[in-house]
Each structure stands twice: as C-alpha cells, then as structure tokens.
Amino acid sequence: MHALDKKLLRDFRRLWGQSLAIALVLACGVMILLTAFGMYRALDDTLAAFYERNEFADVWAMTEKAPRPLLSEISALPGVQTAEARVQEYLMLDLPGRVKSATGLALSLPDTGALPTLNVPLLRAGRLPDPQASDEVMVNEPFAEANGFEIGDTFEALMSGQKRRLTITGTALSPEFVYAIGPGTLMPDDESFGILWMPQAMLASAFDMSGAFNSVTLSLSRGAQEDQVIEALDTLLEPYGGTGAHGRDEQASNAFVTTEIKQLKNMATILPPVFFGISAFLVNMVIGRIIALERAEIGLLKALGYTDLHIAAHYVLLAGLTAVLGVVIGWVTGGLSARWMAGEYAQYFKFPYLIFNVSYDAYAISGFLALLTAAVGALRSAMGAAALPPAVAMSPPAPPRFKRSLLDRALSALRLSQPSMMIWRSLFRWPLRAAFSAIGLSLAVAIMISVGFFSYSINSIADIAFNQSNREDIVLLFTKERSLSALEDVRALPGVMEVEGELFTPVTLRNGPLEKQLSITTRGAGATLARSINETGRVVEIDGPGLLITTRVAEVLRLAPGDPVEVEFMSGRRETYTLTVAGVTEQFFGLGAFMTREAMSHLTRSAPQISVANVTLDPKEDDAFNRAIKDTPLISGAVRVTDMKASFDATVEENISIMNGLFSVVAILITVGLTYNSARIQLSERARELASLRILGFSNWEVSYILIGEIMLIAVLAQPLGWLIGYGLGHLMAASFASDLYTIPMVLPPAAYATASVVVLGTALASVLLVRQRIDRLDLVSVMKTRE
C-alpha cells in the first residue's frame, strides 16, 4: 500500500465522527431510495404476477338482470378476448359468536364445477363448493382468518329473506380483492366483510337469477381500445339496467393498490435528492476545512513532486470513503427495510405471495448517486487545494480580512459584548457558509413539518367524516331501493332512536369533455344525521333543485357554484338532465354529489326512494338491534360508523406514527450532520482564538458561548425558512396524495411548526454541546505553540 493511501485511511479514521455524521445523512438518502424503490418494485411485480397468473379482468359491468344468451353477444364484441357472466349479491351474514352482523359479497362459480376463467380465485385451503350443493361456500382467506374459521365450519347468511346455513369448503385469495373493502366503508375490515364464492345454481335460485346474470367481467385482446369496448358493452347492457361499465382504474381494490404504488414511486424520487444535496454541502464543508488545516501538507506533497491530480484525488477519495461508508449503511438498512416493509404491505394487501426481486439497479443507482454526491462536494475544495502553488501552500494562510462596515457600526451601537460581537462578525464574514448551514437545517425542519401535518390532517378528516358529516351510529343497506315507508320498518327495530333515509344513484357527471362516474346521494331536507360540511365547518343545506358537489369533483370537472352540469343517470330510465351546481362541500373520501329528496323526485318524476337508512341507537339496545337486523330480509348489510372510525384510527394512526418516527430520525440525522460538523470546524478554526480568550481569563463557559452561540444563532435563523419550506413541501405531498379515492387537506396548526423546531433546535444544541466538551480539554500551551 502506498504511503499516501495509508495517510488516507488514517485521516479517515481520525475524522470518524464527522465522517459518520455525513455518512448517516447519505445513508438516509440511499436507504429511502432503496426502501421506496424496493417496495414499489415488490408491490408492482407481485401485483402484476398475481393479475397475470389469475387472469385479472380488464372491464367490469353490473346490470339489474340480463339473460345468459347475451353473454355470447358480449363475447363477440370487437376487442373482447374472454367474457364471463356471474351473479353477484351482497348478503347479510350471521357469524357464530358474533353479535354484530357482517356483510358478504356472494359471487357465483361456474356450473361446470371449474374455477372461473377470469379473476380466478387462488385456492389456499380445502376445495371448491360442489356445483350441485345448496349449502357450500368458499370464502376469502382473510375473512376466515379474522373470524377463526376452519374448513367445515358453518355460518348463516340471509338470502332473499331466507336464512341459510353455509359450510366452508375452502379458502381462497382473489386478484379482485387484494384490498377488500365492504360497501359503505372506508377501510378493509376482514372480520365484518367477506367474499363468498358459491355455486351458480344455488345463488341464482335464491335471487331469481336462473338463466340470467347481473355481473360481467371481460378480458381484452391485445391492442383493444378499452373505452370503445366499454361503450359497446354499455349499449348492450342498457336495456337490462346496466349501470355503466368501467376498467381497472375504477375497480376499487386495484385503484387503492395502484395509488399506493404510485405514492411509493413518488417517494423514491422526491426525497432522496434532499439528502444527497445536504450531504454534498456537508462533504464540501468538511473537506474544505480539512484542506485548510492541511495546507502545509499539501504544499509538502507538491514539493515532493506529487501532481495536482494525485492531490485532488487524495481528498476526493477521502470524501469517497465517507460515501462508501454511507452507501454500505444505506444498502444494509435499505435492503432490510425494503424487504420488511414489502412483507408488511403484502399482509396489508392480500397477496398470496410476495415477489421480492433484489433491484440491483436501485443499489447501483443509489450507490452511484451517493458517490457522485461526495465527489461533487469534495471536488471544488480538492481542486482548490491542488491549484495552490506549493510555496504559498506551505506558508500559513493570511488571516481573514475583517473590515469595518456599516454593519459593524450597527453592531457597535447595540453595545454587544465582545463574544457576541465575535459571533455576529463571523456570521457576516462567511455569509455563504452560514446560509448553506441555515438552508440545511431549515430542510430538517421542513421534512418534519411536511410529514407531521398528516396526523393533524387525518384528525381533521376523521372529525369531519365521523363527528360532523356522519353522525349516525349505523348505516343499514337495503337489498334494493325502497319507498320511504321502509324507514318505518327500521324505526320499529329495537333501540332505534332516529332514522333518516338516503338514496345512492349512479350517474355520470359531465362538464364539456370532462366526466366522472359517481353516486348522487339524495337526502331529505334538513337531515341531521348525514350532513354536508363546507371548508369552514358549517353545515351546507341544499337550496332548491341544484346539485351540491364535493371539492374534489369541483376541481376535477372544473365546476363552480352556478355552473351548469350534465347528469346522465346510469340506472332506471337512464335519462340525461342539466342541473346547476348549487354549492361545494368538503369530503375527503371518494367523489360525491348531493341532492334533496324533493328535487330528485321531481326530476325523475317518481315517488321518493331510499337505498340506505342512517340510524342512531340506544346503546343499551345494541345487542337486541344486532340480533334483529340479522333476521330482517330487507337489509343486506350494516356499516357501523363507530367501528369504522376505530379501525380507521388504528390503521392510520399506526402508519402515521411510523412515518413520523422515521422522518424525525431523518431530521435529527440531518441536524446532527450539520451542527456537529459545523461545531467541529468552528472549534478547529478558532482553537487559537478560544485558547487566547481562556488565557486572558475568560471562563470555559464564556468561551463556549462563542461556539454555541454562532451555531444556535444560525439554527434559530433557519426556523422561519424551515416553516416556509415545510408548508410548501406539505402542500406538494398533499397534492401528490390526492386521488379520486381520497384527498388530504392541509392542516398545519402552530403546534406542528413548534414540534419540528423544538426537535431540530434541541438536536442542534445537543450536538454543539458534544463538541463543546473539547473546549474543556483544550491544551492552552500547545494550542498557542502550534504553527498556524
């Protein structure tokens, strides 16, 4: 090994604290890139494999009831590769040992006894139900696991008013229900929502669907135009009550999973550059200082005949070693966390397996970026070092030129102490360095704020969704649309205190070329349980015949109050009307539009109808109520708002605290990297100065004040900038998360800013205090004797 290489290794060992601080920041960038990339890849690959192997459909459509022979017409449509018809119904379930009801989505299996050709369930245990059986069912695995069902266990289902005892013959996972979300709910709840695969004959006879179907799925041939197929399919199904076909983009499970994948991809591209940027600055600062300290050695190397290239390479390599350390830490932690997180995701989403291919390119890219970052950071200083003429390098650098300026007069006027004066002067003499340190620290603050706002936003979402908009305890889903008199039947159930009805009608809203499929919610005027809330938290009453829309719909369709909007009904008489936007309301989940019962009734020239009943309950009568609805034929399901809120809180809070924790660690690492290195550099630059002050009679703490003061001053000055960047970054994150499934409002109370500042300032102080200890150990005599 060459002597210069030994010097390199020993210097690296001597600088381990500073190197490690930089390496950790770099490692963060590498780790986040690997984790996000690895998870994204794993989910994407797993999803793609599951979809391909299990023939995930391309198009879905529902009708009220269509004759079986229509299927051959659908199969013959241009672009259709495979078409499959089935019967699909929501059932009220009565599970053993569970007082509350559950909902099942029943799907028919082919008469042949074979698996369906599309959306093929992957058998996990047991067998398919016998096609001739009238009491056999296969359920989705998560539902069985959540309820502790074994093969052979039974439960009851209410089918067209008749209670049937069903025996579980097998469990399966389906590409259609990777994210299984029940009707009217926001999050998957495997205990109360299950997928039931049943023999075609049994389901058809129970629901009067013999020789008919109400659900059709298609796969398309290569190169087929999806929208043309959808249009043709809608035309075929229209006479049979088709409610509008859709592609994978509107398939609930797929939409949730792909949204998640998209967000991971965003994370892999947005965050790492921040870390690499800060690392480059840190490397530049530290290598710059090392070079300043090693001026004489550089001069010597040149005197000995080392070339500029040799010398520049020496210092770039020193930074390179730091980068290698960062890359190794990042690779190890990133590789582990990617695998772990992907595993967590695979459980959260119901994949039968996880395809985790190590993405060598992600390793290569992250490693290359980290090395490049270090090289860029070091290069300028290293080139500068190499360019010094040797005779100049070996003589001590000229003392920094402090000149009296207007600023000094201002500072003098403040009658600051000499140590305070030293702090301010130094800040203004190296404004660029101070500015970069401040920007780095402000990014640490910003990162915390940009993630910290989620918990406040989610609280606000939950408050609006569960406390203000939906104040009912339970939503009862009717098997089909009913007249208002159904409310009286509900009122007669035990424990019911208040009842209000709502109707959900599938429509397509259009504004010029823009269109969206959604459901119009129709309510009675003055409804008090389910209400619309505007952005200021006020209840919005719909006045007259207009349509109230949510902010997301207003944004997507570019609508404002007073604008006309075309409404095509996808059920019933399928008429098209032009309505006026009456107002805009806040709703963070899904897309929504609202009308009064009177307006809807008038528009459709029919008696008012309802599809759900919102109910408040006397808690004492809870059990009686639950028992009663399991035997009520007109109800197909019950959504407990309180359960939903609890499961929402549990899922979201956990995710958010993991994310908050992770980003706090990241902010702390950035702060340590910046302040520890700054303090070490300050100390080395000012060792003589500080030692002189000690000799003049200043106490250790008076001297420490100068060191701590300057860095903390920069840290404090960085806060407002951090708040500003955090606010912007938060907006960016919220915007990147917004989709038709949910939107995230930007809620940033002062506490969010305060938390970020306290963490960053506290960390900065701790880092400086760590370096400050060295002042106590300053050997006054030797410091003064050392040649500058």
Partner: protein, 235 residues
Amino acid sequence: MPEAVFHTEKLVKTYRTGGAEVHALAGVDLDLYASELTVLLGPSGSGKSTLLNILGGLDHATSGKVMFRDLDLTVQSDRALTRFRRDHVGFVFQFYNLVPSLTARENVQMVTDIAPNPMRAEEALERVGMSDRIDHFPAELSGGQQQRVAIARAIAKRPEVLLCDEPTGALDSSTGVQVLEAIREINEDLGTTAIVITHNAAIQAMAHRVVRFQDGNIASVATNDTRIAPSEIVW
C-alpha cells in the same frame, strides 16, 4: 571548476501585498556547483528563502532566468516543475513538515513511492541514524529526530540537489549538530549538491562556499579554504 547545477541571471521576484510591491529578489546572478555544500546566510526577508523556492521549482520568478543544468526553469509549466521536483530535488524545511498520520518509514515511502530510482526507505533512515525509530509516528519523535526523518525523506529519491531551509532553525544546538552532520554525510557520500539556508552564522564554517544576502541581493560570496566538521560547531 566543477559544472554549474544552478545558474541564475538577473533573477527578480516581487510580491504584491495590499497596494505595495515588495522586491524579494532584486536581480540575483548566482552559480551553484555540483557536489558543493553552499550556505546562504542573511537576515529575515533578505530573499534567501525566495531564491530557494524558485530553485526548487516551488515558485515562479517574476523576471530573469534560472537554469537547472540545461533546463530553463522560468519557462516550465507547473506540470513540468512537478516532474523536476520529483526527479531531481530533495527538500528539508525548518518545521520538518512530516505528515503526522504516517510513521517515519511511511513518511519516507511517500517519496520512494513516486521517485524513479529511490533507495529503500530503511536505507535512507539508516543514513540519518534513525533505524531504531523507523515505526514511530512524528508525535513520538523529538524535533531533531523529526528533522532527520525529513532529511531521510529528502535524500531517499537520490536527488541531485538537496535544498534545506533553516534545517536547524527549530532545534537546539546539540540536535542541530546531528542534523548538520546528516546533511554533510549526504553531501560527501552521495555527492549531492546541498544548499542550506540559515541565519545562524556559526553554520557557515562547514560549507564549501558562503553566500550572504541583503535586501534581495547578494552582498558577498566567500569560499572556505578550511571547513570544520559540524561536531565542532557551537552556538
């Protein structure tokens, strides 16, 4: 007369500090001969270090001419000067300039790594009497020992010229003598041309020739008919 290793003509070096121009060298004409030990004497700021830096290719002249044998140093690029230093010149500085993170042997190896025809680091250290401290770090060596390592580093490449800037400046008399002894031995045993800067007049007695500087110019050049051994020098 032996051949001239260095030849300077009207050599001028000016520094600009602030608004003022300082003439460090004001037209120096000098010849330095092969295998000669020359002492450059003079007070601080008289120009001797500036001359040494220019001779060693560490600095550029403002005007005039410097020849190293047939090589005109004044017209060489930085790259060529680096080559020149690497192949022909050994330096010894007042403050030793050892790399603190390298041992005595490794400090010498810094040179043997890149020189075309070096001696072994161990041999160089043996010549300066440092064989027993070969794996010590600079911080574990006395000033005189550090300077001897610096000399070993300078001679390990078998340079044609050895340029020493105040080699005893930071040392007491007895350790200074050891260092001068080492320089004399190199000069005599290897025939290396040695140029030693000092403002310690006592050292001149060991030189073949003594050049006195004053205000950036040569005040006098004297030849010693009888030289004394460093061990006889006292200051």
